[in-house]
Amino acid sequence: MNQIPVHQAGRTLRIQVLRHNPRDPASVPQLQTFELEEADSMTLFIALNEIRERQDPSLQFDFVCRAGICGSCGMIINGRPGLACRTLTRDLPDNIVLAPLPAFELIGDLSVNTGKWMRGMSERLETWVHTQGLEQLDVDAIEEAMEPALAEQIYELERCIECGCCVAACGTARMREDFVGAVGLNQITRFRLDPRDERTDAEFYELVGDESGVFGCMTLLGCEDMCPKDLPLATQIAFLRRRMAAAV
């Protein structure tokens, strides 16, 4: 019989959570401390679930996939944004401070409305394929073939899970609420690469050619360093900057 070796780390974790319910007028933001025994290969996601199950069922945080795919469990972990499900407690000190992602609307405790922000960004930047004659498009017909290298390149950028970590890690986004963040600039680059999108550089410039777009980026590279999906954000933003500067 196969046995999975289980080692008890024997550490007691002290997890402090910034708690606040914006819909409750009596709620005051405060740090609440929880203590729990660390288990082998424990992620923050597991730790938070254990706290919610055994200590405080009112603790709010988001998760869906538990595997770094849905982008729901983004939060500030000891000052830096990251995904709870991808963060192993063994990589953290005994004392862990968790806070909701800044720049997004707070739902409660660690839960923020990234969806609302992402939708706003998507509508503003029109992050969908713009092409003529969609009404006549035969969805049953086989799509025109794309160069594998290009498809790969687009897929690489498409891996973004819109977790919001790049926005929370961005000094510009923290100062300027209208800044579209690396997630927005990455999506523009993705559609600019896509041969099905017929928009010109001048049209893309209309969307990101200002201080709230690519020219607002100060190249602090927090986005690149904190992206849980390791997207090549710095090179994509540099590419977009060159294209947009050449577009005028």
């Binding site: 000052g79 049209e203 020219f215 090549p232 500067a245 005028v248």
Partner: protein
Amino acid sequence: MATSLDKGPARADVLQSLTGLLLVLFIWGHMFFESSILLGKDAMYWVSKMFEGEPVFGKPYPLLVSGVGVIIFTLIAVHAILAMRKFPGSYRQYQQFNSHMSDMRHPDTTLWYVQVVTGFAMFFLASAHLVVVILQPDNIGPYASSDRIWSGHFWILYALLLVSVHLHAGIGAYRLAMKWAPIPAASSKVTRRRFKLAMWCIIAFFLCLGTASLVTYMKIGKQHAPHAGERYIPTHKQAIQESE
């Protein structure tokens, strides 16, 4: 479509980068010329006269130095005005950035703040240095510069300026590369590490070079203090004077 585009933001960003690049190249070149004092007084004398156009025009024209000073001053002014677009515009923004920076403990974010602080310091330090160069262009030479540095106490200004300008220029050059360079995504992490290493090596090199030459000027200035104000006569002219 193209006619209605607001070209301002693109031009401002390109111009900020371009003026920054020119200033970086200038200051790195400047360091090699000013450190000619390490090769001896005659070498520095020759460099100072070269910039006054003596090898070309037959006699020195210090106004040429003033002209370059004015150009650099203009570049700095344009660069500073454009860079200020990015500064925190209110106390709230400043607070947001400050807490973000201390929470994140992220080197590149902190380096930007270093650039803001050194940039602000240079508003005063570089301006003071340039005003002297522009108004007294003939006051550059092995003794003239050393006297200003030692007897005129300018070493305090230059020491502060040295640290500010090289941190600002080194970090700025790294950021410029990350901002515009077409780096393949596959090798971007390695390339960035190399750029970063190059940045620290360049900063360290110029700080050492600058310190060595500043100390040399201070030593010469201290020795020359009793005769402060007297100009250096190069060795070949000394020989001519002696033979006369």
